[in-house]
Structures are given as C-alpha cells and as structure tokens.
C-alpha cells in the first residue's frame, strides 16, 4: 500500500495547488519537406504535421484522464523553418507560415513554434527571407510563434541580425496595431537558445534532436508557493537555506510528474521522450504566480533590494530538485519572470517598484529573460535592439539562455494598461529609465566577439 502521506501530499498538489502539466510539445523535424516548388513545400509541411500530430491531443487527453492531472497545452515545435526557405521568396515564407497555422488548427493545438532562424554568426538567404516575412506572417496567422538565436557563448552576438530583427519587431507591432501589437507576443529573441524548449514562444526542434520527440513543460508556482507558506507558517524563523531545501523537494515531485506524463504520451505516439522542462511558468491566475513565491519568501515589494537574490535562490533550488528527479531535464528549467503573465509581477511594474532595469538584473539569475514586457508605442528599433543586446550580453557571458519578448504597443504611453487576455495576461506599459542614448553603438553593427571563456578547448 502506498504511504498515506505520499497520497495526501500528491492529492494536495493536484487539487489545491494548481499542479498541472503546462505543455506537452511534440517536436517534428520538417527538413524532409524541403522543396524548391513553393506549392509542394507548403503541402508537404502541412501534411507532415497533420500526419505526425494527428493523435497528439487524443493521447494527451487519455493520459490526463488516467492521472487526474490537467495537461493545459498541447503544442508543436518544428525544426527551424528558415532551413526550408533557401531559394524561396518572402511570399512563400508567408504561405508557409499560413500552412503551419492551418496544420495547427487541424490537429487542434493552440500554438506552434519554430518559425525560427539561428543567426548568431550570419544570415543565410533563407533566414533573411524568414525575417523579412515576419510582420506579415505573424499578422495573417494566429497560432505560429517565431524565435531567433542572435548570440551564443561560442559565437558572440550578431549585432546586424539584432538590428534587423528589432526593426521587424517594430513593424510587427505596427501591423498588429488593431490588437495592440499582439504580434510581438509571438516573437522571442534568444542568446544560447535551447534546442528542446517546450514553452512558447521560443519552442523549436533544434539541430541534433530526434525526428519526432515529446518534450514536456511542467509548472507549479502554486505548488512551490504553498510549500514555502506551509514551512514559514510552521516555522516563522525558517532560514533561506531551509526555504531552498523545501523548494528543492517540491521541484523534485513536480518534475517527476512531468516526466511520467511525458513518457506515457511519447509511448502512445511511438516516439522518443526528450526532456522535461521544469520551469516555474506562471499564469495570470492568483495562486499561480512566481511573484507570489518571492512574497512568501519575504520580498513583500517585488523589485526591492533582495529581489534578485530571491530569484537566484528559487531558480537554483528548482534546478537542483529537478536534476535529482530526472536525468532528462532540459529546456529552460528554472524560474520565468514573464511580467504580463504573472499578476504579482505585473502589479509590481504598475506600482513602479519593479523597473525594467531591475528585471534585467533578475534575468542574470533566472532561466530566461525579459519576457512579455509592454513598451511605449514610440519605442525605436534601436531601443529594442539595445534591450536585446543587453540580454544577449548577460547570456553569452554567463553561459546561460537569455531572451527578450517585448511588445511595443502602438500609440501607448508609459503607465497605460493593456490586456491581451487568457494566458498572455495583462500589464502596464513601462520603459527603460533612459529609452535612448545608445543609437550610435547599436548602429555600428557587426559582431560582438565571443567572451574569452568560450575558448574551452
């Protein structure tokens, strides 16, 4: 018989603490679809996705029923689409994006990632085609997400690519003005982009991955918060190392849940299981917030001195618990700080206690970067490029993944409230303390060389 406390604690996680599997993401390599004929290319991509993913939702639902555990999102991540666009036009890129969108709708998933180009050292014609198509592609589609890798610890940062993409972010915002720049919520720019990230908007099936694979993203900020609350309630003098230990234990259990679900879905599909990404990914719902965890730890005003240390503690404890739980931990695995998607973080930005600069500091110790941040409509491409460069610099120097997903809201001023609804959440427009002043630096372009510690051989 199972130990009663084992049952009770697991039931509590499921019933009361919002434990769920945030994403089961099917990775599909599309390279076999490459074709110089645009019609055949588009048809092949659509057919391959529908073929490989036709049973994904059904199997996810079966496994969810078996364990009484919600699988919130079923998603697809494809190999970088830019690889299919060599020799093709911008028009074909847009058609391809629409084919991805249609396939996603056909198999009943909500988001598909992989409209991607890896441009950390150069831009091929196909990659440039994809980048040029971005504003239109994301305007005429709903489910497709786009991502770029502009820097790595080994390669440095490709500033020309950053500048090009930043201009496209501004254009995308303008083209999706009717939805307040929502197109930009589907674009993320990385440094050291992971190849197996199951979370959107940055999911893609990287080089070296299987033909098809299941990667799982588990979350559980509510579970972690409750665990910290129980500890602190039982012992108000609990020290930070004791809190770290409690988070680690909780992360272990959450990770194990994710791997169990992921392996079962993979078995049913007859494909390999890849990784479980244990990232504390919040939703706008109260009780499902990473910001609330910091508050439970004692950071009553998020953004105050000490916040970065709290982020570091949480991120590290999550990774330690996850790595003990499974040898198949990958993706981003840590703590996200997506401002709009976390009601406590969003509130702190609105109140002015959490600034963009503080968020940047926090990205040095969390698992991603500046995420779901609303910027004024007057934001220039140079400012966006500067933000990306700063994040990439943190990433390549610290040998970690960093990313930027910012949304310039056409016509919006700092302090203005914007609501995208659903998982994308809501928030207040913010801006850097000094929005301009580095244009000449950014516009020099070229390549920021790789840091010295990249010379590992």
């Amino acid at each position: 018989m199972l130990a009663r406390q084992a049952v009770l604690s697991t039931i509590r996680m499921v019933r009361e603490e919002n434990l769920d599997v945030r994403a089961v993401t099917l990775g599909i390599n599309l390279n076999v679809c490459a074709n110089p004929d645009p019609d055949r290319l588009v048809e092949a991509v659509y057919a391959r996705i529908v073929d490989k993913a036709g049973s994904l939702v059904r199997f996810c639902n079966e496994v969810s029923d078996k364990y009484g555990l919600p699988i919130v999102n079923k998603r697809i991540a494809v190999s970088p689409v830019s690889q299919l666009l060599e020799g093709h036009s911008v028009e074909t890129a847009v058609r391809l994006c629409q084919a991805l969108d249609a396939a996603a709708e056909q198999v009943k998933i909500d988001l598909l990632g992989g409209f991607t180009a890896l441009v950390q050292r150069g831009i091929t014609p196909g990659e440039r085609t994809l980048i040029e198509s971005l504003p239109q592609a994301l305007t005429v589609t709903r489910r497709v997400c786009s991502s770029f890798n502009v820097g790595t610890t080994k390669a440095g940062i490709h500033v020309d690519a950053v500048n090009l993409i930043a201009r496209k972010v501004i254009e995308t915002a303008e083209m999706t003005r009717a939805s307040r720049g929502f197109g930009c919520a589907k674009i993320v720019v990385f440094a050291n982009m992971p190849e197996d990230n199951p979370f959107m908007a940055g999911a893609m099936l990287g080089p070296g991955q299987p033909e098809c694979v299941i990667n799982v993203g588990v979350s559980g900020p509510g579970v972690v918060k409750r665990a910290v609350d129980r500890l602190v309630q039982a012992d108000p003098a609990a020290t930070l190392d004791e809190i770290a230990e409690e988070i680690k234990h909780t992360a272990f259990r959450v990770t194990r849940t994710g791997e169990l679900i992921g392996r079962e879905v993979a078995d049913r599909l007859g494909i390999p299981f890849g990784v479980v990404d244990l990232s504390l990914a919040p939703t706008p719902r109260v009780g499902d917030s990473v910001g609330e965890i910091y508050q439970s730890m004692g950071v009553s005003r998020i953004g105050a001195p000490g916040t970065t240390a709290a982020v570091m503690l949480l991120n590290d404890a999550v990774k330690k618990g996850g790595s003990f739980a499974s040898s198949a931990v990958g993706g981003l695995s840590g703590a996200f700080i997506p401002v709009m998607e976390d009601h406590a973080l969003s509130k702190a930005v609105a109140e002015g206690t959490l600034t963009l600069e503080k968020l940047e500091a926090m990205t040095a110790v969390c698992s991603v970067g500046l995420d779901m941040i609303l910027l004024p409509g007057s934001t220039t491409a140079e400012t966006v490029a500067g933000i990306i460069l700063d994040e990439a610099a943190i990433g390549i120097t610290s040998r970690k993944t960093t990313g930027v997903r910012v949304i310039p809201v056409p016509g919006a001023q700092p302090g203005e409230f914007v609501d995208f609804g659903g998982l994308f959440g809501s928030g207040v427009v913010t801006q850097p303390a000094s929005p301009g002043g580095a244009e000449a630096f950014v516009n020099r372009g070229g390549q920021i060389p790789a840091p010295i510690h990249s010379l590992m051989n």
Binding site: R4, V7, I11, V14, K66, R253
Partner: protein
C-alpha cells in the same frame, strides 16, 4: 499466490482480532510453529488500538483448522476473535484484475460515506485492495487502492465518480497509482511505466 500445497501438507488462512499489546505476533507465530506450521503471506494492521492479523500457514495434513484455532484461543486474551479456514488452492476467480488506481475522497465525517464509495466501486466492477482513512483539517480523507478494469473509460469513470460523490459533500479523485509512486519514490520513471 504461493505454489500449490503438497499433498502431505494443509494450508489455512487465519485472522486474529485482539486488543493491541506488545508480543502478540510472537504469541501467534509461536503457536503456529508449535503445530509445525510455516507462515506464507502475512499482513497486520492496528486500528483504534485493535491488532488485526491475517496470514496463511501450511501444516502437516493431520492438523485441523479447529486445532489451530483452539491453540490460538488458549494463547491469546479472552477478547480475541480467531478464525481459521482451509485456504483454497486458487484465489476466487471473481476478483477482477486491472490497472491499479488510488481513490480519494474528502469531506465531513458522517454515516454512509464509505457505503456510498464502495457502492460506486462495486457498480463499476472495481475491487478494493486496500483502504485507509486520514483526518486532515477537520475533514475525513478516505484512500483506497483499487483495481480498475483495463477496458474502463477513465475520463467517464472520473466524471461519474465525482458526480456520484458530490451529493454526499465529498470531493473525489481517481488517479492511477503511478503518479503517487512517481512523486514519492526514488527510481526511474521509465521503470515505473514498464511494470
């Protein structure tokens, strides 16, 4: 189940219910040993101060259930209730096999709750393999390990169970046991699924 009992031996299944004290298991097993018995399966629990023991034992064929019962009656306290039966060679075929799930309900302590739960399980051909109760924040939590027929539609079963328990003021959940083992045991998930 153990290997079939040799013709020169006889297998019994015995249950003992007696107020708990130190030394009960020793007293019972001494009695079994004195009748040249070898204990096979054994399980004990203590519920509200009462010791409950169930075990199988093999004895020489001339030993009768009555002899074993009389010996244990004389060894134990007068309040003890001892039952000894001839153990069948095979388990009754009517007990359904299936996927191992854990049923939990949570609600106020009131008469009829267990009857409601067990009635639902019987109606769906689900066998209870183990059962325990906990108190949590003033509520009673029943935890049962059950065997659900493999052909069952788990989604419909989940919904039906929730709907059936709701009028009794119970929140109810039916989950495959793997999730509890995964979150509380050290070992590879792959091995769990392959079992």
């Amino acid at each position: 189940m153990h290997a079939p009992c040799p013709p020169e031996r006889r297998r019994f299944i015995t249950s003992v219910l007696v107020p708990d004290r130190v030394g009960l298991l020793r007293d019972v097993t001494r009695g079994v040993f004195s009748l040249e018995g070898n204990i096979g399966s054994i399980r004990q629990t203590v519920v509200d101060g009462f010791f409950n023991l169930v075990f199988t034992s093999e004895h020489p064929s001339q030993i009768t259930p009555e002899a074993l019962r009389a010996l244990l009656d004389s060894t134990l306290e007068s309040e003890a209730v001892v039952t000894v039966l001839d153990s069948p060679e095979r388990a009754p075929a009517t007990v359904p096999q299936g996927a191992r799930f854990v049923v939990t309900t949570r609600g106020a302590d009131k008469p009829g709750t267990i009857f409601a739960i067990t009635s639902f399980l019987v109606d769906h051909n689900i066998n209870i393999e183990d059962w325990m109760v906990e108190e949590e924040e003033g509520k009673v939590v029943y935890i049962a390990q059950v065997a659900v027929p493999e052909a069952a539609d788990f989604r419909l079963l989940q919904e039906a169970f929730r709907d059936a328990m709701a009028p009794h003021g119970l929140t109810a959940l039916l989950c495959h046991e793997n999730i509890f083992r995964a979150t509380n045991e050290i070992g590879t998930i792959k091995a769990l699924i392959e079992v």
